[in-house]
Amino acid sequence: MKRRLSNVEPLLTAGLAAAALLALMVVPALAADAPPVPNKGDTAWMLVATALVLMMSIPGLALFYGGLVRTKNMLSVLTQVFMIVSMVGIVWVTYGYSIALGDNAGPYPGLIGSFGKVFLRGVTPSSLFPTFTPGVYLPELVYMVFQMTFAMITPALIIGAFAERMKFSAVVVFMLAWVTFIYLPIAHWVWATPTPDDIVKAAAELAAATGDAAKKAAQAKLDGIMDGSGWLWHLGALDFAGGTVVHINAGIAGLVGALMIGKRVGFGKEALAPHSLTMTMIGAALLWVGWFGFNAGSNLEANGVTALAFVNTMVATCAAALSWLFCEWGFKGKPSLLGMASGAVAGLVAVTPASGFAGPMGAVVLGLLVSPLCLFFVSNVKRLFGYDDALDVFGVHCIGGIFGAIMTGILVAPYLGGTGITDYTAKDLVGAYDMGTQVVIQCKAVLSTLLWSGIGSAILYKLVDLIIGLRVTTDAEREGLDVIDHGERAYNF
């Protein structure tokens, strides 16, 4: 189990024997069978983190994107983001949470959850959910709603790729399908983890077992627990806060959409300049502020690792913003605000999977490198292939996400200042870190996401196109989606 287990780390270095001890000492709840009580500091932090992630979507992302389109399409962007957030909220409490993260009791627990918690069945204010530290629990409603906000923002990211030309009705239908068939499974693969207490307990029993039969039985029990988790997590993929699930996933879905829907009228000929970089800047800043909830919230507790994720989120973003600014200054002549904001977002994307694993200096390096890479994609590669990924969802989120995911496998290395990986079963110890293996695992996670989301999205776009059509008419596009789709105008100065 590849999530860092900070509190018990010193004990774990003593190996399997210690695990037995641990089960009795660190997790007295298990021993005494008294119900664990959530720490109010954790609860407070996670509620705030949840509000912050909502703020990332609305108004954050909505403004970041909205500022980049032309005036006549401003409201279409805002409405699409707002609608997706609202729709996914309902999807999540009715069936999404159960299928993705709430329930590992289905027939294919490695691939998908089941319907055990549809309509939040059985989830009450006193239900608890384990964090990554044995013996530490959160109110399940907190965990549920925190994860909800991730499911909200991911599809909202996609709309940037086909902005200014897709029918609102098509967006509604496509997104409903996309969340259900693409997001929920991938979230499950990466984030459906067993209860740490169960692992620790099973590992302790295994350590205590004498005799072959007992050992076998104990091993089987431990294996059973591990097999109940999402397959990518089980494989050992490291993704602290959603590089694969959120950014690569949305980024590739966006590229596929941009390709299938085609270029905007006037693309490459007319000036399609952003209508308000002020809004884009507000959006970028709120994304940054909210991203602390996203990344540091992903630790599910308020402790030193949370602080590490917070710091990494801060410095990677600083580094990436500066890096884009100076690259643009050097290569394109002028340092632009849009460049700086794009760099900040690229840094946030790249540090997402690494935030709780890299050291702060690793995060700085990550930020410095991701910006030129993304800049190259959004200018040169895009021009070369001529696709109209309107707001660079692919170039920033997919490319930045892939880079971050792979670099996570590198920066987690203790000798690079990373945290290393500690196994709850205490089989892999800190220090015994094999970078090659980990990078291969990371690549597998990246590839599976690209394939499932890329192919799946293509099918869904096609279906929606057949049923209701993806795109508005040329005249409607000229007039602008705001008036055509929503019957409003953004500004009446």
Partner: protein, 112 residues
């Protein structure tokens, strides 16, 4: 009567207005316009995409004057608006056959 229409640099608007008022002209109408001419625009880059902005911001002043005041008016505008640099703008003069002040119904010279 004549319509004097001047295209000038925006930051010269106040000086031109004062010059006209100095001449005893009590009315004028101003429009924000974009001009294309010898003075070139600039380049803007948004992420990858480069745009040339061909038009530069200008201000158009329209003032209707009695025919005998045209020369003074034109001269006053030209003096106030001149910087000597490319893009100072143009003054065009055309004819106006009727004028009416809506409030009072006065016409022609009385309406100016």
């Amino acid at each position: 009567m004549k319509l004097v229409m001047a295209i000038i640099k925006p930051f010269k608007l106040d000086e031109v207005r004062e010059a006209l008022v100095g001449l005893g002209l009590e009315g004028m109408t101003v429009t924000e316009v974009k001009g294309y001419g010898r003075q070139k625009g600039h380049k803007e880059i948004y992420r990858g995409a480069e745009y040339t902005v061909n038009f530069v911001p200008k201000v158009k002043i329209e003032v209707v004057v009695a025919s005998d005041r045209v020369d003074a008016t034109v001269a006053a505008i030209a003096n106030a608006a001149r910087t000597g640099q490319i893009g100072d703008g143009k003054i065009f003069v055309g004819d106006i056959t009727h004028t009416l002040r809506i409030r009072t119904g006065e016409t022609d010279a009385n309406a100016l």
